[in-house]
Symmetry: C2
Subunit: 384 residues, 2 copies
């Protein structure tokens, strides 16, 4: 968790790259009264970000897009630069920023950290940058996103309650770490501090592996008859939801973390090979035990995923209520839940295709389950 | 969809196996006024099912558990037998039922259909059963379950809106199909008719493959440091949720559908091998295109999964509202939604660990999104 107050953030903040994330950072910082400058090689993306209030658009001298514009080049010197460029150019833009503004803290927000850090260190080795200059760079990763992209989809609340990793390396200046933590905290995010290697190993497991698995499963559905897909339940929907992700972005992420991801995928392939071997002779001695072992290992891993607010996994009891498809039904159930003084810890709808009713699953503290069931039943709700 | 009315169900209905599903079927049928008899080799499971009102407990002459009980053997002849035994004994119990009651329709509810059907056909080939007798057997699969098992977890509403597959084969008697359809409809399920091969191929893709993928991903988390898992978002949670499933049950399901599942897993392994090869040389010519291709294929497959009520996938717009963790907050948002006359099509909470606020994601018809956003914003809610 961050201990740096807002004063630790040198202003103004220049956001380089006004896509979804950069623009959302601008909006969040403006909401906290921070002075924000914006730049993007795309004049239209920049104009949209400015028009929705994410900050003041500036041109950069010598920038490819800005070259020849002449007038309008901004002379304001940023205190902090947020590199929000696509992952595969983040390193180059970070080095460029360290060179342009010799006093500024430079942070990037790419999803993979080692490759950006490598670009900065390479600039030192080539003599482009002093080691002291490079210490003003700090890698970060806000773990938030939306299903849509671009500045139009930006929201100042995008980072509310989201984890934002700040990578403090031995060669990172303390002021740079403090600035990054202060910025993340101002957006409403929860700061997690770890080094770049730990970050990249973490996201390989908790983000990149699930993406690959979802894509592999969903890929199998390309030729599936509609009658088969009509049987799909939440198991399939949940497992494949993130398979809808943007290929262009994920190419950069997966390629950028290739080494760590490949190591994990080798482990997955070994397990998959073992399962295929077992299923090819399901009646051989030990086969059943082998399959049970795979499922049990999955149980063990799944049980380690923390729940809401970092609570122990599976800490909640679920009360399931039948609701039909008219406005106000779900509200009425939750109103009754609130009236009973029971807090909703989590919530989801469970429904199957072809039917006009659904199941509302309300997660509550285990000690409140019986009470809520009784309260809802008394009011005429069908608790199942 | 079923066209058979309740009259097509010969009564009384004997449920053999009073676990979660058998007991839930009993409860659902009793709720519709159907006469239900129950049997289970476990006297305590049977007593629980009876005590919660799922039907009348009977003993069966010559049954392993019933042998020697002498008195109490029931002489009521069932019109329909529902075999709700564990998958790997379902075939044996189905054949036993066809032999015991020469006039009854016999249906089973195991998750894999070809193996049960094979057991019935084998009994005909061995001369144990006439082809005419075997035609009274019909395989079915109610696609419902809970995270808990046993008769105590049973609910009469378990099948509400769930798909229930009825396998009509060329050698299945029309009355048997009609009885199964009538029974499924009485429980509130939606009847889908297909043959056993089509069913098993369907569930291999939409149920067994997701289970394997979830277990493979979750298995990798067994040694993951807690600091890494603290970064987990809904992507990981959704992808691994079903990894919490019961190993003993899934051994039987996966082994029972091994041939069809292996074929699919070979396809997954080929894609995985291709990805591993690409990630081992991510800068080789064509590598990026290869990765993008995998993600794009996942996009294409995911887009084919039908949405709620069989609606086209991704037909809904999402309005995201910030809520804090006090009773009544979610209810108030949904009350405001109902007041605005906007129907909630789907609902979920999105939250990160370590923070006391969450995002309520309300899915609505796309044409209502702006309207709902305006209505909620006007009432002081933070729509993001």
């Amino acid at each position: 968790m961050s201990t740096a107050g807002p004063a630790a953030l040198p202003q103004p903040v220049l956001v380089r790259g006004t896509g979804l994330l950069g623009t959302s950072i601008g909006l969040a910082l403006r909401g906290s009264g921070v002075e924000v400058l914006l730049h993007d090689p795309s004049p239209s993306a920049l104009a949209v970000a400015r028009d929705i209030g994410a900050g003041r658009a500036v041109e950069l001298e010598g920038d490819v897009a800005g070259a020849g514009a002449g007038e309008g080049t901004d002379v304001t010197t940023p205190g902090t630069v947020v590199v929000a460029a696509p992952p595969d150019v983040a390193g180059r833009v970070a080095v460029d920023s360290l060179l342009r503004w010799p006093e500024a803290v430079v942070m990037d927000i790419a999803s993979v950290k080692a490759s950006v850090q490598t670009d900065v260190r390479a600039a030192v080795e080539k003599g482009l940058l002093s080691a002291e200059s490079a210490s003003r760079y700090v890698g970060t990763h806000p773990m938030a996103g939306r299903e849509r992209s671009g500045p139009v989809a930006a929201r100042g609340t995008l980072f509310t309650a989201a984890p934002w990793v700040v990578c403090a390396e031995p060669d990172t200046a303390a002021e740079a770490v403090a600035a990054a933590e202060a910025l993340a905290a101002l957006t409403g995010a929860t700061v997690h501090t770890m080094d770049a290697g730990e970050h990249d190993a973490s996201v390989a497991l908790i983000s990149h592996l699930p993406q690959v698995a979802a894509s592999l499963v969903a890929s199998r559905l390309q030729q599936t008859p509609a009658a088969s897909l009509a049987l799909a339940g939440n198991g399939l929907r949940d497992t494949t939801r993130i398979a809808a992700s943007d290929p262009q972005l994920w190419v950069q992420i997966l390629a950028g973390n290739a080494t760590r991801l490949v190591e994990i995928l080798h482990g997955v392939r070994a397990d998959l090979d073992r399962l295929i071997g077992t299923l090819e002779a399901p009646d051989a001695p030990g086969a059943r035990l082998d399959i049970a072992q795979l499922i049990a290992e999955g149980n063990a891993g799944q049980a380690r995923i923390p729940g809401k607010h970092g609570a122990p996994p599976q800490a909640f009891a679920v009360v399931t209520v039948v609701v039909d498809d008219t406005p106000g039904q779900i509200a009425a159930v939750l109103q009754a839940t609130g009236d009973a003084g029971v807090n909703v810890e989590d919530l989801r709808m469970d429904h199957a295709s072809g039917h006009e009713v659904g199941m509302l699953e309300i997660s509550v503290l285990p000690g409140r389950r019986e009470e809520l069931t009784a309260a809802l039943t008394e009011r005429g709700w069908k608790v199942v």
